[in-house]
Symmetry: none
Subunit: 191 residues, 2 copies
DNA sequence: AACGTATGAATGAAGG
DNA sequence: CCTTCATTCATACGTT
């Protein structure tokens, strides 16, 4: 289910300003600790959660890039010969950029980490390892059976029986599949 | 160039329901053969490939875990009372949840193997209800550090960060400029 | 009211 | 498994 039902977070002007300034300062993909700092700070200006910060940077970055790409695409279409020295063709992955360091006072760590891309400190909890016989490497299982969509090949042992008549075959409360009103890539053909 | 250009798979409601039910039944990381079965079955409800199944479980598991982790993390962070030297790390990994064995008929292998894999960490499903104001489901890396180690301060060199302790976890009671009612207006105009 | 835009949220797909 | 990217959905707002 997409989107949070009702109250979607909305940045206050102060929060937005801070976020934008941080972005301008070079922060692109803050990690957990950075997000926590940012959230803590921004919470002084209104209710906010970590996920909001996360999503904000995620979206902002994506859309900035999208605009850029669009622009470039259009340019490329019109002209592809005369370009100024300072060509508007920045690498898409610009993590290192002259930061304004506006928030150096408060978010030095954030900025610093953002620039150096330092340590993505791992999870404190020791992750569980595989129980017994598991491969050390994660060989994508589906590669092993790349034989089409398996749609043609019925299971050798037991053919796909339908244990699912229990299900209503129609979402009672779900309205969120893929079928949208506008351009839908995936036609949720309820075949 | 990540992602497939145009047609990204999107689960039909039936497929999604089945997948969720299987997840609920204990399936976490199906291997090639399991994926094959699942794919074969799901293909009856729409176009689907093995990799879709693979990715679905991968993502679902990861995101479900994050939700959990965050919940537990916050808990752990808030009530820091009864953590003696006996258990500095609360057993996040609970136990084997009783599988529903709904798919035993056809996916016996899946379920069986799934049961073996279960028991790493999972608290069943409980309820997925979200408190309206406090939390919401998120989906990404931020809570990756919860044990107060990173939050308080991983001093890279010198941290001028001030009294931004771990986030208030409570709305500071400030005027929520954003949430007037439900359809609030984001005053983005200040931009 | 219909329509386009901006943006929070969610998720499929990869990369590593 | 973890992190990141691209796309998409849903909705609020402004415009015509």
């Amino acid at each position: 289910m997409p989107q949070t039902p009702s109250t979607r977070w909305c940045p206050t002007p102060e929060q937005l300003m801070i976020l934008e300034e941080m972005y301008r300062s070079g922060v692109r993909t803050p990690n957990a600790s950075q997000i926590q700092q940012i959230t803590a700070h921004l919470s002084l200006y209104g209710r906010i959660e970590g996920k909001n910060v996360f999503y904000w940077f995620q979206n902002h970055k994506a859309r900035e890039r999208q605009k850029l790409r669009r622009r470039l695409g259009r340019q490329h279409q019109l002209l592809h010969q005369s370009e100024g020295p300072s060509s508007p063709t920045p690498p898409l992955h610009n993590q290192t950029q002259p930061p304004n360091l506006l928030y150096q006072g408060c978010f030095q760590e954030v900025i610093t980490q953002g620039m150096n891309l330092v340590g993505k400190l791992e999870v404190g909890e020791g992750q569980e390892e595989e129980p017994a016989a598991s491969d050390a490497v994660y060989t994508q299982p589906w590669m092993t059976m790349m034989d089409g969509s398996a749609a043609t090949g019925p299971p050798p042992c037991c053919r796909p029986l339908k244990t699912l008549d229990l299900f209503p075959t129609k979402s009672t409360g779900m309205k969120d599949e893929c079928s949208s009103s506008k351009s839908s890539s995936c036609s949720t053909s309820t075949n």
